[in-house]
Each structure stands twice: as structure tokens, then as C-alpha cells.
Subunit: 398 residues, 2 copies
């Protein structure tokens, strides 16, 4: 069969706020081939990702993503890898192409799963999908007391792991941060995993990050996430070394959500010394690339974790690449997602009584967009070049 | 003064061909502040770069580039650095933002140069601009005889350096490639620098690249450019090691044109073992970031070289960041640029009788877009979101 159409739907809540909530908009992708449909999602910035699909060619290494997808043969799973590589080669100089490709790649896996009647993780060669322990992501509170209260609520809700981050963390004094980390640990009690996300707050300032290691070790923090921007490999390596050199409980580093190809993720592992690689399937190049990273990480003794802060569709896509790796036990789980994310799919991916998430044993991603609900979130877009409409929001169907 | 407006002009020749010529289109940027204008250029894929400027916000770390530029104070040179950092922080999750930022940053330097009556290289702290030896970029011929003829013509045109690349190089047998490299050396004779560009043809296959080292050493090739994709740091490192281990004439590696921030360029130097870092000012984050890389490279004994395949405006912008580093002697010079590039500016940047290029001793970049000529290349674009026009090609003025 041939890829007949690729449609992009830009969805958003009525008022997108200047907060760290990535579920306020979404870019849904529908691929049709051989009478079947597959669905995927690109993470972040819908308009530039649409533009990367429809833009005119600049030159032979800067083609629109559409040039490498529409009309392509899609018969075997190897065709997905081939199309993925073709996009990278033909859109080499088009930076946004990796994000656009990601949603398309996810949709191609979903479509092939539906065609073959198998969940994507089985198409990837995994015999089964191991349940993952969901970690609830929260912002640190404005005061240590607020952080404590949030942690207590997360524990009471049944989560076995929780991540705190952003807010004022890392911006004030070491003493302030210590109070917040201790409050989080106290609120969670000793038996819930505590993770801390610095949100790249220290840029590449190793000393600032190092000053927080003692309290992170004292509170047995499972990882320190993104102390630095993704590219600061030397800073990551220096901090990882400092954490090992302290002796006692080792604070491990996590990072990688910004990776838009497999190489960037590998560099954080090889040259940055991270022990958890966090991959957003909607950015890195889709399930194909995320699976590649998961296998590589596993071979290096580094744990793979999804990065997902959006919809159940994106969550399912993000879990497939490492579903069958039993030793990768954690998963990010969006707990405060927007009404758009809540309405997104017919099926849901709930957390069970043991704080774990299980992938559905259903064809593809096992998630179907709720078209009727989504219609009211549609953001109508029209792009004209030379008076020709190169993109207009399509009908979403029923 | 405040930044009052930022305008994008998408320009293209009537028929963009599927060839490796990056001068077939251009994205010109005009910034206005305090009654002055500055001009810059983003490299490649105009439509997605425009979209990255005007798109609605997705969340706090995924804002349009405009959010960090329009209305900003621009009084001192440090404001340019501040704005550059602000864009990176606020548009963290918007992949295309780095390319959009690049053209704006160039325009900001041009504007400040005009305001202060100084060339940009002096604002960067360089006392003078050293002339650079232009290397003429050509494709390998279809046969060794064609390659020989091309090389002979380049020599006769007065160039002191020439780069051959792409075409069938690296795709066929080692013997084929050897014949082409020897033909190029013969055509140039012994006293013109020969450079070879593999155009990432070997992906990350070290053995394939290594098989070409003997002929490259025999023909005293000044560098082997992009044997691998930018991210393949290990492959770069392994090939650099193999080239050193051979003894005798050492084939040095060059790369970096794909870098869209300073970190990527640094990684190629630190972990990839390149000896020439090739930076496209229109991609890496503008003159601010390119200067940062040039200084870093100089400290590491690595030569900085511009990557430019477009207009005289982009060429001037790409030379400023390393203009004052005397030991960085080479520059890429587009020799077969399109009519769009030829018509682009009132001023030109010719190669002198000794095959060298000199930056003008004029305020800013010393290049003024030829508005009347450019008008006929304008690609009219309109982008509507929620029935509101968020972008429409502006008037280019006179």
C-alpha cells in the first residue's frame, strides 16, 4: 500500500497560559494508507511543524517533510525505518523537520499495528509490555510547607514515585532548596521514590548544581533531572563525576528530553554520564528513533524513561519503545493535564492501584482520538504561498 | 531605543531546483529601532522560520521568537547577547527557533554597527579584519576528466584554494574516488589548496571513510569535510585517530555547518577531533553565537571557517565573527550563486587578484539589500490562525 494522505490537526485550549504545562496545545497527525488510519502526535509548536511539512523546497537537502512521506510504499515495518531515514536525509537543513517527522513516524507505527492486529511493542519485538511505575510530576510549592502538602497528597493518591521541579528551585539559596527537598521527602515518606527536576536552571554552572548534591543524597533522590541545558555535556560529566566522588548514596543524573535525534541522546549517555535517558517520542524522531535509543541505553546499563506531558495518545506512543525492557521501571505520567488532554482519546491510560501504568493489549497504540470532542479545540490555520493554499486545517471526521 | 519591528522577506528564484545550491531562496530579516534599520539572513527553509516567529505560544518554554525580541531595549551591545539568551530560554522547545534567531541576531549587529558607525568586527573587539583566502566550492565532475577540467578552470580564475565535493563521491568504489581526487589535484597543480567535502555520505561508517584516507594524504588534501552526519561524534573521533595513526601527511577533519548552537560545535571539537569548525552564522544563532564558537575554537587550536552558500549579506555576516583571527586564513566563497544572490545587495564582496576576500570598512555589515531588485523575487506568504492574519509578506520599501 501507499501513503495516501498525512493530515495535521492543531488543537489548543481557548486560553494558553504562560506556565510550564505542555498539554495546553497539541499537534495531532493522521496518516492514511490502504484504507487504514494511524494516529500520532508531534510535541510542541504546532504551526512551525505544519510549516515544515508544507513549505516549498529550498534546495536538495532542504525539502519539505511531505516530499519524503506522501506516496511512499508502506508494506513492511522496514518501510517505516526507510521513510524515517529519507526524511532526515532530504530535510537535513530543515531544523523543525525532526519534530514533524516524530508525529508521522508514530502514526505509521499505529497504522501498521492496526493492519497487523498487534500492539506496537510487539511489532518492535517485545513479547510483553511490563507495567511501569508512574511518577507524578508536580511543581515545587511556593513554600516548603506547600511542597510538603503536595507531596503528602501525591502519596495519598497512591503514587509510588513523584517528581518535583521548576518553581523557584535552583534560583534562590542552597538553604531554600534544601528546605524544599526535605519537605518533599517528608511529605512522601521514606517509601515513595523522590525525583527532582532542575529544569536546566543552572545552564552549565557545575558549582551551583554541586552545592545541592548533599541534600539530594541525604533525601535519597532517585535522580537529578536536567541540571544543565542538553548541550552542556562537559557540565553533565563533571557533575556526574562529583556525585560519584562523594561516596555513599550516589545522586544519578537524568536528561535528554530535548534530544531531536538519537545522536544527541547517545552523547548524554557517552559523554555526559547520565544514568536515565528521558526521551520524548514526539520530538526525537518518533517510535523508530526512541526504540533505537532505548536499545542503545539498555546495552550501556542506562535506564530509558519516557518524557510526556501531554495526551494519552502521546503517552502510549512514548511507552512502546521500552515497554518490553523489564529493568526500565519508571514512567512519566501527566497528572495535571489540561481538559484537551483529558478529552483527547476514547481510551484512557489510568494508573492502577499499585501506582503502575499498563499499555493496552490492542492493535497499534490502542488509542483512538475522540473526534467529536476534539472538534471544539481545533485551531483553524491557513497558509498561502504565492496565492496558493499550501495548508488549511482539514475536517477531522467523526 | 526599543526594537520596533522585525520583518521577514521570503525570496526565491522562479524555479527552485532539486540541486545542492542553497542560494535558490533566502529569508531576509529587517529590524528597526530608533529610526535605524539592520539587515540579517536566516539560512534555509524560510516558511518554518517565519512560523517560528509568529506562532502562538504552546507553553512557557515554547514561545514564538517574537515574544523575546519585539519591544526589547537595544542600547548596548550586551543587549544583543541578552536577547539571544532570552530567545533560547523562552523558545527552548521550539526547534526551528535557532534558525529564526540567527537572522535576527545578524540584523541586530548590523543595526548597532550602523548606529555606532563601526563595522561589526570592531564591535566584536577585533582591531582589524584580515583578508581570507577564498576557496571556490565545486561539485566533483561526472568523470575524472570533468573534475580535472573544473579544477583547471578554478586555478585559472585565480583561486588559491578549491573544494570539491558531493556528486558521486563516496557512493561508488574507492578506486573511482581516488581517480577524482587525483584529477582535482592535477587540475589545481601543486600550489593551490585542495579541500574535499564528503557531504555526510558515509553516515557513521568509519571504515568507508578510512578507505579514502590514503589518496587524500597522497594528494595533500587540506581537509576532509563532513565524512559523517554532525551527530556522529564517535565516528569523527575514530577517523581523526586513524588519520593521525597513519603517520606522514595528516588528513584533518572539518565539520559543523549543521550546528544550531554553540554546544554542538564544541562537541565536534572536543569529542569529534575536528581541526576546522565550519559555522553557518545564519543557523548557529547569529553573529553572537558564531563569535563565541570562533573564540572557543581559537583557544583550542582549531581553525574557524565560515559556511556560506548564499548572498553577499550572509557572506559578510559569516566573516565578521573570525575576521580578526589572523591564523584563520580560509573562507568559503559561493562561486556559482544564483541570480537572486547576485542581485541581493548594492555592495559586493569580490575576490581580489590574490584570491582573497576583504570585509568592507563600513558600518555594520557594510551590505545594503537592493530593494528594487529584490521585489521581483518576493514570495508572497500569508498565515492565518483563528482567522487572524499572523503573518503577511510586508512591503520591502525602496
Amino acid at each position: 500500500m501507499k501513503i495516501e494522505s498525512v493530515d495535521f490537526f492543531y488543537l489548543a485550549i481557548p486560553e494558553v497560559k504562560d506556565i510550564g504545562d505542555g498539554s495546553q496545545d497539541a499537534l495531532l497527525v493522521r496518516v492514511r494508507a490502504g484504507g487504514l488510519e494511524g494516529w500520532g502526535e508531534c510535541e510542541a509548536a504546532p504551526l512551525p511543524s505544519i510549516a515544515a511539512y508544507v513549505c516549498p523546497m529550498s534546495h536538495s537537502a532542504c525539502k519539505p517533510v511531505s516530499a519524503s512521506v506522501l506516496g511512499q510504499e508502506l508494506n513492511n515495518l522496514s518501510d517505516i525505518t526507510r521513510i524515517n531515514q529519507l526524511v532526515r536525509r532530504n530535510s537535513f537543513d530543515l531544523l523543525q523537520a525532526d519534530h514533524t517527522l516524530s508525529g508521522i513516524d508514530v502514526a505509521l507505527w499505529d497504522l501498521m499495528g492496526r493492519r497487523l492486529g498487534e500492539p506496537v511493542y510487539r511489532l518492535l519485538g517485545y513479547k510483553r509490555a511490563f507495567p511501569k511505575t508512574a511518577y507524578a510530576s508536580s511543581l515545587f510549592g511556593n513554600t516548603p510547607q506547600e511542597t510538603f502538602d503536595k507531596a503528602r497528597r501525591v502519596r495519598q493518591a497512591g503514587y509510588r514515585a513523584a517528581k518535583f521541579g521548576w518553581g523557584a528551585f535552583g534560583l534562590g539559596s542552597v538553604t531554600d532548596d534544601e528546605a524544599h527537598v526535605r519537605a518533599a521527602r517528608e511529605g512522601l515518606s521514606h517509601d515513595v521514590t523522590l525525583l527532582v527536576d532542575a529544569g536546566t536552571v543552572w545552564g552549565d554552572d557545575v558549582a551551583a548544581a554541586e552545592a545541592r548534591l548533599p541534600v539530594l543524597a541525604e533525601c535519597r533522590v532517585g535522580w537529578l533531572e536536567e541540571p544543565f541545558v542538553s548541550g552542556a555535556l562537559d557540565a553533565y560529566a563533571a557533575l556526574a563525576q562529583a556525585a560519584r566522588a562523594r561516596g555513599g548514596f550516589e545522586v544519578k543524573l537524568a536528561g535528554g528530553e530535548g534530544a531531536h535525534d538519537a545522536y544527541m541522546a547517545r552523547h548524554l549517555i557517552e559523554h555526559g554520564g547520565i544514568r536515565f535517558v528521558q526521551i520524548d517520542t514526539g520530538r526525537v524522531g518518533g517510535i523508530t528513533t526512541a526504540f533505537d535509543v532505548a536499545q542503545y541505553a539498555h546495552g550501556k546499563g542506562v535506564a530509558f524513561v519516557n518524557h510526556t506531558f501531554t495526551t494519552p495518545l502521546a503517552l502510549s506512543a512514548s511507552l512502546q519503545p521500552y515497554a518490553g525492557i523489564e529493568s526500565d521501571t519508571l514512567c512519566e505520567y501527566p497528572v495535571e493535564a489540561s481538559e484537551l488532554a483529558a478529552d483527547f482519546t476514547h481510551e484512557k491510560l489510568p494508573v492502577d492501584g499499585e501506582g503502575r501504568v499498563r499499555l493496552p493489549d490492542a492493535p497499534g497504540l490502542g488509542m483512538t482520538p475522540h473526534s467529536a470532542a476534539l472538534r471544539r479545540y481545533l485551531v483553524p490555520v491557513e497558509i498561502r504561498v504565492h496565492d496558493q493554499v499550501v495548508y488549511r486545517t482539514p475536517e477531522i471526521g467523526d
